[in-house]
Symmetry: C2
Subunit: 336 residues, 2 copies
């Protein structure tokens, strides 16, 4: 059914139907009701492609999600979607693989959808100035920053936890519980991204407490895949290196690590303590429940969205916002 | 950078650049290489909005995901994205809330993006004919069917497991292990969707084995939220009803149920056995690991995509494909 058919059915002009559908005030209540009624009855769907030709959608934000199989992102996405809806914005979403190019995806989406702004959920922490130039509309990095890149202060915005500081906090929690032989499980200690930032926080905590780094306790899994995590922890155990605690850089990794230890007859927390970061829902239900630094997922998403709106409206400059994590005590850490 | 700038930089005409970018054969290899090289170096991004005006994107498929916070969907989505890429299609994705209207979202996306076809990942199982009429391009329901609706055979396509049969299989597995007092945990036994289909499978298994339904063992959580699952299982335990096994209709629900039992001093599988459906990655790493009917997630996604392509190309008619689940024996079930 076209807008013409609908107009005919209602006995009014096409422009009257159009005024109703565009929520314009200059239509009588009866006509408005009749048109909406018939539109509903006849399952009329507006042709937005045609509308886009005459009027750019000035109310669309882009959301590029990188590494969409990250459980942790689900809750953040939800809060961004909620914020968009509450503020009357359409959210255009693109998911790309962990190794996809979020800047290219963002630039493409910005042009094709005439976006007002973009939120990048997940991405690299090492953008170079000239790479980032393809993004010529306001944007906010969500859950990561530009820690390892060369974008100048004021030339980008970000909202997330301070990965290095929160990891230091997690590691220090283990130290305060009497642990000194602490293994770290990271996807990579030189990934120029979250893995590296969290590894640095671990090193800071060791240094502050006079503990030397033991390279045999630094486990690099090469990915976030749980099977890789399991195998890497198995190698750590086989190596015979002694450790009384593990800092895993994500909850999902911690679940796989706990399982691997269990399969080797090493129980958490009786034999080894485990702490992680994220605070995914499942972390509260697994046995043992995880002691973890919970990220303020709802706040991160909502703050990213409002920062982006403010930048678009000229009410704020670019800034990097770090929100605090909350240490949740589960059952996976024991005082020794 | 515009296409004009790029052409100037390469010392060729705009139409030559356009031919290269559209993968047309009538360009020399050197020129092609030069153009692609400069495009990359200068981070040139095509303006697809402009291109859409002259040439409809005939190669775009829509993917509407309903209930995007369902962990199980992540792997299915990944395989649909892979299939789209391998076959040269663009995938336009929309995520909507669990209570969102996927038909409306699909109809809107179909018009605005000029889609060739749509995959609905997750959705209601009770569409009525007149509701479904808003979708006037080929579509495939993925991971669900039209079990409770009135779409005639041949008027829709679907790919998924047979929820009723697989639930019967799971329940019967418990019965074969000696269990007769089996509780079911479902979001709702009359939800006209997956919850109801799986409840029916549970009833079938009981009936086939001469076991009467005990209404006090039917736990309706009202949602897929793990906190609701935990509370509902707590009520079941407090009620004093006896049971030696639990069939949870999803792995995530099973994890929350195992935890609730554990908190009440009831251990799995020593005291109570638990089986579920899905086969999410985490189910293999939790303690105890779950005995579950694993859905063929990759196959479901790929089959849905190729069925949709075949329908579009006129090579196949609408059909409903049921793929078999695989019972994975974990540690959560014990013979009694």
């Amino acid at each position: 059914m076209t807008i013409k058919d609908l107009a005919k059915k209602c006995g009014v002009s096409v422009s009257t139907v159009s005024r109703v559908l565009n929520n314009r005030p200059d239509v009588s209540a009866e006509v408005r009701e009749k048109v909406l009624d018939e539109a509903k009855k006849n399952h009329y769907v507006r042709n937005d492609a045609a509308r886009d030709l005459v009027k750019p959608q000035q109310d669309t934000m882009g959301l590029i999600v990188r590494g969409a199989d990250n459980i942790f992102f689900t809750e953040v996405m939800k809060s961004i979607e909620d914020a968009a809806e509450e503020n009357g914005y359409i959210l255009s979403l693109r998911q790309i693989a962990s190794d996809g190019d979020e800047l290219k995806a963002g630039a493409k989406l910005a042009k094709s959808k005439k976006l007002r702004g973009i939120i990048f959920l997940g991405g690299r922490s090492d953008y170079k100035k000239e790479e980032f130039e393809v993004i010529d509309i306001p944007s906010v990095f969500c859950t990561y920053s530009n820690r390892f890149g060369d974008l100048g202060r004021g030339s980008f915005s970000s909202v997330g936890i301070d990965d290095e500081a929160e990891s230091e906090k997690a590691t220090e929690y283990l130290i305060n519980k009497g642990h000194r032989k602490i293994a770290i499980i990271t996807n990579g200690k030189n990934d120029s991204a979250v893995g590296e930032a969290r590894y640095r926080g671990y090193l800071n905590a060791l240094a502050k407490n006079g503990i030397n780094e033991d390279p045999s306790l630094v486990v690099e899994t090469g990915s976030y895949d749980l099977y890789d995590v399991y195998s890497s922890v198995r190698s750590l155990i086989s190596s015979g290196s002694e450790f009384s605690a593990v800092f895993a850089i994500s909850d999902a990794m911690a679940i796989a690590a706990v399982r691997c230890l269990y399969d080797s007859g090493i129980y958490v927390p009786a034999d080894v303590s485990v702490i992680s970061i994220d605070g995914i829902v499942t972390s509260r239900y697994v046995i043992p429940s995880l002691t973890t630094v919970s990220q303020p997922k709802r706040d991160i998403g909502r703050t990213a969205f409002s920062l982006l709106m403010d930048i678009i409206n000229g009410d704020r400059e670019n800034e990097s916002i770090f929100l605090p994590g909350t240490l949740i005590e589960g059952e996976s850490v024991r005082k020794i």
